[in-house]
């Protein structure tokens, strides 16, 4: 009962958040004059004469609340608008481009968390010894890397220097034709999963080959974060009373670390998984752009740079909903793992 009402309460909080996000973005776009916003609908100078007609048709010179109201009522009718950068309704665009990002996330997230946990544990267990320093410097260096630069460098080496070894995009040309033909069923549009479901080895290998560089680029930056966190929370729990007891009882160091300290140290990691999700949402924008891996981050970036207002708003809504849901899940998981925390308790 308590859980259900808690969930409902959290979900209700979604509404002011969504309202606030969209008002803010809409407000920003109002900084543009009607003519500037009308010129977003035009592709070449030859069409400039139609600006007044465009302003009239779309009501671009109406006051802010009128335009916002129109947009909101459209949303309630299920119409999120038309994304001009990809020529499809915003709703379609979200579901169209989501699979690619999910594919990246599916491979990057376990990698980040496992590597982070492993490295963090090792570093904590050997604190202040060379291994600790080396892993820490490596992780921090990884965190300091500009994502776009890392991506460019990796492309330079693995696509340029080693001609075509690890190419950008999601699939090579022949595989692309195959995947879109009648011989292949795209269940999820996530190429690796579909390849498995279709029992098609070559497509699977090709998809994996195209995933290597983007996943590495996405992961490197975030491993450091998790590693750091894991290390400090491991150190904290290694200093706790029950650890001393375990050691006094004569348990081996390995058991102490793995069985007791680590489990308690995982608590902040769960919280942080929420942050990893946030970091990925940022990371995919650059990664997908550089590797032409057309997912939702690529679409959002394109919409933002080309002022596809409907696209930006749609993405904002989608993202806000996702964030709130993820935070909710994380908070609930938190209560499961740490019995000291109650629902609705002090949580940052």
């Amino acid at each position: 009962m308590e859980l259900r009402s808690y969930i409902i309460r959290r979900l209700l909080l979604l509404i002011p958040v969504l309202f606030g996000v969209t008002v803010f973005i809409f407000g920003i776009t109002m900084l543009f004059s009607p003519i500037e916003r009308a010129s977003l609908y035009i592709r070449s100078a030859r069409q400039m004469g139609d600006i007044p007609a465009i302003i009239a048709t779309y009501g671009l010179d109406q006051p802010f609340w009128v335009q916002y109201g129109t947009w909101i009522s459209q949303v309630f009718h299920g119409n999120l608008g038309w994304s001009s950068v990809v020529n499809m309704p915003v709703w379609d665009a979200i579901w169209n481009f989501l699979p690619a990002t999910l594919e990246l996330a599916i491979f990057a997230t376990p990698l980040i968390i496992l590597m982070g946990v492993f490295l963090g544990t090792r570093a904590a267990a050997h604190k202040d010894r060379p291994l600790d320093h080396v892993t820490r410097v490596g992780a921090i260096a990884g965190w300091s890397l500009p994502t776009f630069w890392l991506g460019l460098m990796l492309l330079m080496v693995f696509y340029g220097l080693f001609r075509g070894l690890l190419p950008p995009d999601r699939l090579s040309f022949p595989m692309n034709l195959l995947v879109n033909s009648a011989d292949f069923v795209r269940y999820t549009r996530i190429n690796t999963i579909d390849a498995i479901l279709n029992l098609n080895g070559p497509v699977l290998l090709d998809a994996l080959r195209h995933l290597i560089l983007p996943v590495i680029t996405l992961s490197v930056v975030n491993v450091a974060f998790i590693m750091r966190l894991m290390r400090s929370s491991m150190l904290e729990s290694l200093g706790k009373g029950y650890i001393l007891t375990a050691r006094a009882k004569g348990l081996s160091e390995r058991v102490v670390v793995n069985k007791h300290a680590r489990r308690n140290a995982l608590i902040p990691v769960i919280t942080v998984s929420g942050y990893v999700f946030a970091a990925m949402a940022n990371g995919v924008v650059i990664t997908e752009t550089i590797f032409t891996f057309k997912g939702i981050g690529w679409w959002a970036a394109l919409a933002a740079t080309r002022l596809d207002i409907a696209g930006v708003l749609g993405f904002a809504l989608f993202n806000a909903v996702l964030f709130v849901l993820v935070n909710l899940v994380v908070d609930i998981l938190y209560t499961r793992v740490d019995p000291r925390v109650r629902l609705g308790g002090v949580m940052q």
């Binding site: 543009f32 010129s39 592709r43 100078a45 950068v85 020529n87 696509y159």
Partner: protein, 599 residues
């Protein structure tokens, strides 16, 4: 102890942030880019450029050759007026300004009774962020005038003539050109709707022209001169009139014409034999053929049987009547066909395609008669009839998408004052295109439209679609009542033919993945041999990816940005075509009433 710490830190931050001197390059200036707004050495008055001597001075002070050689990597030719080579009406003897600093100085000394020279000026030039050639052009203007000021023995001050350069987002620039009108000079380019001098002169010189209106240039006498030139049915006198207009542009110098770009095409070695028409300079154009080995066999290549092109822009819609952007028009060239098309490299002679002749003109009613080819089938399998041709044009005029290309039909077929459906009636549209046996007869609004309308017929918007198929797809049903359902569509997705195609062309649409790719497959019922089984257009924004794909043979044609022309010349295994004329022009425009006319 800690209080001191806080204070110290805040102070440090403050000091460092302020010690680093005015680190606000690119700070947005107020909307007036004219400094003090007066000719006092710290600005320019709003009508600064209305003095022809000022304009001429700027024209002389621009180093055209260096701009072309370096900013355009040599791929450009200077022109004296917006009428570029390849347009009907181009005068190869038209005068143009040479880079001559002495003349520039002389002209500036005459401007504003010498005040401009004595007091100096200061204003800001704006360019759209991300466009390096335009930025370079602005910087060249700025540097030349700084140089003039610094080296003139009477002035010896590099800041006497101060031109700053600033970047703005493209929509903001457009908003300023067509709205606020507060930029002292702006840069924009133009591409042809149809390759006729009129199509370039009107936007640059007519008082209501797309650009000249917002410059404050043009008057009714000049308008009459332009109309007279267009409506002249005698080619000899018409060309003389156009030569006079080009001379007029030089004399008035309403802008600095930068260059007519030349383009290059880069193909892998197994692709050759394309036929390039300058009207399609924005995209590779027509059907390509494969190189054959000496013994006539096909040369094997990766992805054999397919032609893969990597571009940077996705199509907006596949509906021919909607298409006004290059990415979309490019697609129609393969899926649909038109009645006639340009012959080879020419822009004023034609080959019959879906018609069997190139149009018989009769002065009786200003009619243009085409005999429709028999035995042509659509991708749906049905035969093409003259009714389909009639429907194609009437449908376009009844759809009349706002901001679309159909104004050309209205101008050519209905009348001088008719620009859209709202200006006319269904009866007039119906009468303008009629079927007569195996012929289709167009009634032109004036005899002088004979050549320009034929040029219009070569555009993708004049593609022939199948009437019954369209009706079945809930497009316009052919009646007056049904117009309301299709008229003035707002979004690309609102038209029935947005993503479904049924044309007579050599390839038919197989897959359109928005933002990703367009795949077309061979149409077996085509009446001539089709060189490729698949034609794929993939949208790849990153140049490096495109380049590597081209070199690895994963792509056969890629779009190469101008900045990388020289680099690509060193590559082997490519077919490179250089110096292909393109029908576009980029120019500076002098704003003669900065801020717009007083309300």
């Amino acid at each position: 102890m800690t209080k001191k710490l806080i204070v110290t830190i805040v102070a440090l931050i403050g000091i460092i942030a302020m010690v680093l001197p005015g680190c606000d390059g690119g700070e947005p200036l107020p909307s007036i880019y004219i400094g003090s707004g007066a000719l006092d050495g710290n600005g320019v008055p709003v009508d600064f450029f209305s003095d022809v001597h000022v304009r001429k001075a700027f024209c002389y002070a621009f180093d055209y050759d260096t701009y072309i050689a370096e900013a355009l990597s040599g791929q450009g030719v200077q022109r004296g007026s917006p009428v570029v080579e390849g347009l009907y009406g181009y005068d190869s003897d038209a005068p143009m300004y040479e880079y001559d600093l002495d003349e520039a100085v002389a002209e500036m000394k005459l401007a504003w009774d010498g005040d401009a020279w004595d007091k100096g000026f200061k204003f800001t030039l704006l360019y759209n962020a991300g466009n390096l050639p335009r930025k370079t052009a602005c910087e060249m203007v700025s540097e030349k005038w700084a140089y003039i000021g610094a080296t003139d023995p009477d002035i010896l001050d590099g800041e006497h003539f101060q031109v700053s350069v600033q970047a703005l987002a493209w929509p903001t620039i457009l908003g300023k050109i067509f709205g606020a009108r507060d930029m002292p000079m702006f840069q924009i380019g133009w591409m042809p709707d149809y390759p006729h001098a009129d199509n370039f002169i009107v936007p640059f010189m007519h008082s209501a022209g797309t650009f000249s209106y917002f410059q404050g240039y043009g008057d009714s006498a000049l308008d009459a001169q332009i109309a007279a030139a267009f409506q002249d049915t005698n080619p000899t006198t018409q060309l003389v009139k156009y030569a006079a207009l080009q001379q007029r542009y030089y004399d008035d110098a309403p802008g600095i014409v930068l260059a007519q770009p030349l383009v290059r095409r880069y193909f892998t070695q197994h692709v050759t034999g394309f036929y390039y028409n300058p009207c399609e300079s924005s995209y590779p154009g027509d059907i390509f053929y494969l190189t054959k080995a000496d013994n006539g066999d096909d040369i094997p290549y990766k992805n054999a049987g397919s032609l893969i092109e990597l571009t940077i822009g996705d199509a907006e819609s596949l509906d021919p009547a909607w298409q006004y952007d290059n990415a979309s028009l490019e697609q129609s060239r393969h899926i649909y066909e038109t009645l006639i098309y340009y012959s080879g490299n020419s822009t004023d002679t034609f080959d019959p395609i879906l018609a069997t002749n190139t149009g018989e003109f009769s002065a009786t009613n200003n009619t243009l008669r085409f005999t429709i080819r028999e035995g042509v089938t659509f991708h749906s399998g049905n035969n093409m009839t003259p009714e389909d041709v009639e429907y194609s044009f009437e449908r376009a005029m009844c759809q009349d998408r706002p901001g679309g290309p159909i104004w050309m039909f209205y101008q050519a077929l209905i009348g001088e004052d008719v620009w859209s459906y709202d200006d006319t009636t269904y009866a007039a549209i119906d009468a303008s295109v009629e079927v007569d046996g195996q012929d289709v007869v167009f009634t032109l609004s004036g005899a002088y439209w004979e050549l320009p309308f034929k040029q219009v017929l070569c555009g993708g918007w004049a593609s022939i679609v199948e009437k019954q198929w369209c009706i079945d797809k809930d497009d316009w049903d052919g009646t007056e009542v049904g117009i309301a359902d299709v008229l003035h569509p707002l979004l690309p997705g609102d038209t029935a033919l947005f993503d479904e195609c049924n044309g007579t062309g050599p390839w038919k649409l197989s897959l359109w993945e928005s933002g990703v790719q367009i795949v077309k497959v061979k149409y077996d019922g085509y009446r001539a041999p089709v060189p490729f089984d698949n034609v794929v257009y993939k949208i790849v924004e990153e140049w490096s990816s495109r380049k590597l794909s081209l070199l690895a043979g994963d792509a056969d044609i890629v779009y190469v940005p101008g900045t990388n022309f020289d680099e690509m010349d060193t590559e082997e295994g490519l077919n490179i075509f250089k110096n292909l004329p393109s029908l576009s022009i980029d120019a500076f425009f002098f704003n003669m009433i900065i801020g717009g006319p007083a309300e």
